[in-house]
């Protein structure tokens, strides 16, 4: 169905110059193609990764000027000029991204706007190179029909590349940092680095389109590359469908052709654009393509039981069990938030391949401790060592790479991905493979993709989740979300797994099954487990060792039986202990 639609579109696009001799129509077709290339790239950034750029006209301009100058000044062949333009914009894109992506939201919008204005300013001012406000003339051209075919082919390649990318480990990483940056970092992904990659790809696409634009017109000037152009790019994408592969096609067709059909109201063009933008934000959050798709297909059936391997014995496949001893040593760690001590001089030894529980009343500092261990808070004082290596104060994604995985108090799944996709992000971790390979869908990239999918399937099977592998994570019930999150954390093959209230919100039957799964995990020589939990039945049945926190201090530690008898613990939970009254 979708494939037939794409084929028909490709044929129609290819046949345009044969069907009409009217050069104006062919020129319009070429304009649509250029817009498709830019917005397909922008889709990688805004659609997949969720970062808005209002400066893409700047990259479009750099591509156009780089190509025009290398042909007119350096006398390079056109094809070489286009490749050069793509490389230059990719480099500039990476540099801009390095600066811009330290910030987000309105700040990011400002940086990209500023970039666009700087580019425009330089084009106007640097007369000796760019020709100033007059621009560059006499850029050689192909015949219009041939150039149209080139543009159409590049547009097709651009769309094909974004589709490849979406299905790859890179594409999932893009969505992961959009849906939950915190969770993505807990799997070893550097959100900053992943976003820079997306920004660079989208800049390169804009550069390619800019180069082709220069050869289409034979003349370029700064007027074509204003803030309005950047806004138009974003409008096309929003209208067509953010994150939808076909979104750029629909958006470009409508926004190039609509004003042509309505030439009589040319004065109202900006109002038309503004209204379309507003309307698509209001009523078409996923664009025209998203709306059509939603209308045609009912929501994915979560119960569809794919025939995977039956849930055999659980194989964690963790690193070879190292010598027993302390997997994690916490020494006199203190954290304060604005003068309030959340943790004071907490020391803790977590034995390897055992289950250690952290308990304590609300506000005792349990989750704070987990956040310190996984790098989300830097301790104000103290040392933390993972298997002898210090990790305190390092960023979350590096701690994750050192072998610490975690779940969150409220499960943080990547809502746009399937359950299997979520786990696959964990399996890949920071090893995303080559970006070019992912764009082109090379055999090596495809092979790696199959391995990742198989790894994810095995992990889901181990937690009896095969039936939901293809269900969108957003559609899962709370208990399933928690289990998928545990599978995703295990997928990173951690040394140490931190579970933050894994039983909260689960039914008694689910808790019993979780109990069994965690015990099996330990007995199979899996990762060392640290468990923050309020369900005392689960804690007492499962833990080898319990540490009790209260008011940011360790008040007791020992095996479950000893902790249950400890008067300090009883006092912390129930107030003054009866025995202590005498």
């Amino acid at each position: 169905m979708a494939r037939a639609g794409w084929l028909a579109l490709a044929l129609a696009a290819a046949a345009l110059p044969l069907a009409t001799a009217n050069t104006y129509y062919i020129y319009l077709g070429a304009s649509v193609g250029l817009l498709v290339i830019v917005t397909a790239g922008l889709n990688v950034l805004a659609g997949f990764t969720g970062q808005t750029s209002l400066g893409h006209a700047g990259f479009y301009a750099i591509g156009a000027y780089a190509a025009a100058l290398s042909v007119t000044r350096l006398r390079l062949p056109m094809a070489v000029a286009v490749l050069l333009a793509i490389s230059v914009t990719a480099l500039v894109g990476a540099a801009v991204a390095g600066a811009a992506l330290r910030v987000s939201g309105p700040y990011l919008a400002m940086v990209t706007i500023a970039f666009g204005i700087i580019v425009e300013g330089v084009l106007v001012e640097w007369v000796s190179v760019t020709g100033g406000p007059g621009g560059i003339f006499n850029i050689p051209k192909l015949s219009l029909a041939r150039h149209y075919w080139v543009i159409a082919a590049v547009a097709a390649i651009a769309l094909w590349m974004t589709a490849n990318l979406r299905r790859s480990a890179w594409g999932r990483a893009f969505v992961a940092v959009k849906d939950s940056e915190v969770a993505a970092e807990s799997l070893g992904l550097s959100a900053y680095y992943v976003r820079i990659a997306a920004f660079t790809v989208s800049a390169a696409f804009a550069g390619a389109a800019g180069a082709l634009f220069a050869f289409l017109n034979g003349y370029i000037s700064p007027d074509s590359f204003t803030l309005q152009t950047s806004i138009l790019f974003l409008l096309v994408l929003l209208f067509g469908g953010l994150g939808q592969i076909a979104g750029p096609v629909v958006g470009s067709l409508v926004l190039v052709l609509l004003p042509e059909l309505l030439t009589r109201i040319a004065d109202y063009r900006l109002i038309l654009y503004g209204t379309l933008l507003l309307a698509s934000i209001y009523w078409l959050p996923a664009g025209v393509v998203g709306a059509l798709r939603r209308g045609r297909r009912p929501t994915a059936a979560a119960g569809a039981n794919s025939a995977g391997p039956s849930s055999g014995p659980f194989s964690p496949g963790g690193p070879a069990p190292s010598a027993t001893g302390a997997a994690l040593t916490v020494e006199r760690v203190s954290v304060a938030f604005g003068g309030v001590a959340a943790l004071s001089e907490v020391s803790l030894e977590v034995p390897a391949h055992r289950i250690t529980a952290l308990i304590g009343p609300n506000g005792a500092g349990k989750t704070t401790l987990l956040n310190v261990l996984s790098g989300y808070y830097a301790p104000d004082a103290g040392h933390i060592a993972l298997a002898g290596r210090p990790i305190a104060g390092r960023p979350p994604h590096l701690i994750a790479r050192a072998g610490v995985a975690r779940t969150f108090q409220t499960a943080q799944l990547f809502g746009e991905l399937s359950a299997g996709g979520n786990v696959a992000v964990g399996v890949a971790g920071p090893r995303l493979g080559g970006l070019l390979g992912a764009l082109c869908g090379t055999p090596a990239a495809r092979r790696r993709e199959r391995e990742l999918a198989a790894g994810a399937r095995d992990l889901l099977a181990g937690l009896d989740l095969t039936s939901v592998a293809d269900a969108p994570a957003d559609s899962l019930a709370a208990g399933l979300r928690r289990r998928v999150e545990i599978a995703r954390a295990l997928a990173t093959r951690p040394r140490l797994l931190l579970l933050d209230e894994p039983a909260a919100g689960l039914t008694p039957a689910e808790i019993a099954s979780l109990d069994g799964q965690l015990a099996r995990l330990r007995d199979a020589g899996g990762p060392t487990l640290v468990l923050v939990e309020h369900h005392m039945d689960l804690v007492m049945a499962l833990s080898d060792h319990i540490t009790v926190l209260d008011g940011g201090r360790v008040i007791a530690r020992g095996d479950p039986a000893a902790v249950q008898r400890d008067p300090a613990v009883i006092e912390a939970y129930l107030g003054a202990a009866p025995a202590a009254a005498s």
Binding site: T52, M110, I118, E125, V182, L227, D267, L270
Partner: protein, 274 residues
């Protein structure tokens, strides 16, 4: 001057974590409405000024209602684009009613004053004076009046403020009205210096936004300082290098500040929550 417009970004940002990206178009709106009332309808200046301010406050409220509230309540960042969309529509509407050409704005204060041979326009003096006075007034309103305290409560924690009986949407709408009003004052003040044109808003809005970001969106004093500093740097570059380099240097400065101190000069480093 930029500081005055930038303060408008600050007001809505602290109350609702949103802002009108088309604040510059409100400046344009102020100039155009004042021109229409003063020249088109021949109103006396004080009346025209009042009319302009009323119109701009209403405009701010409309922007909030149409482009911000649906998204602010849902926590969606779409307000960024929806306010840009409204700005585009406003610019086109102004073009259709006002015409595309720039027009000179008559001012009661255009006679140059000669002080020891150097002439300057009272208008140029008036702008920083009115600007600083308004900023002080806004600060006073914000910190002293009950209404300002409501805005502050909403800024701290909208949910809790709502539970305490503060009408959060209305407070946000008031912040938008006030922010557009400030932009309108800026428009009236600027109109005699620049010419009045529908396209005048974009670049003013962007520069004011740059100032707001440099100063720190959450810090009014930071914004005032940044506004003055930005103006100085601009005239310095324009004087010693070229007018064209002005924008390049100005916006490069913004990027530099954001890279080094992403939360602005006057802002505090935000802590992150997990």
């Amino acid at each position: 001057m930029y500081g005055l417009v930038a303060l408008g970004y600050h007001m809505t940002w602290v109350t609702s974590r949103t802002m009108n990206f088309s604040q510059g178009h409100a400046v344009m709106g102020g100039a155009v409405v004042a021109y229409a009332l003063l020249v088109g309808l021949g109103w006396p200046f004080p009346l025209a000024l009042l009319g302009t301010l009323a119109a701009l406050a209403a405009l701010g409220a409309v922007v909030e209602r149409v482009a911000v509230r649906p998204f602010f309540l849902a926590g969606s960042p779409a307000w960024l684009l929806s306010t840009i969309a409204l700005g585009i529509i406003a610019e086109n509407a102004a073009m259709l009613t006002f015409g595309k050409d720039a027009r000179a704005f008559p001012s009661p204060l255009t006679k140059p004053i000669l002080v020891g041979g150097a002439g300057f326009y009272p208008q140029e003096l008036l702008i920083p004076l009115v600007g600083l006075a308004l900023m002080a007034a806004v600060q006073l309103l914000y910190h002293r009046s009950a209404w300002g305290k409501q805005l502050k409560a909403v800024a701290w924690n909208g949910e809790a403020a709502g539970l305490m009986g503060i009408n959060v949407p209305r407070a946000v709408m008031a912040a938008y009205a006030l922010s557009a009003l400030l932009a309108g004052v800026a428009g009236v003040l600027l109109a005699p210096l620049l010419n009045v044109a529908p396209t005048m808003g974009t670049i003013i809005g962007l520069k004011a936004f740059a100032v707001a970001i440099i100063g720190g969106l959450a810090s009014a004093p930071g914004i005032v300082v940044a506004g003055l500093g930005y103006g100085l740097v601009e005239s310095f570059v324009a004087g010693y290098v070229s007018t064209g380099a002005r924008e390049i240097v100005g916006f490069a400065l913004v990027i530099a500040v954001l890279v080094l101190r992403p939360w602005g000069i006057g802002g505090a480093r935000p802590s992150r929550r997990v």
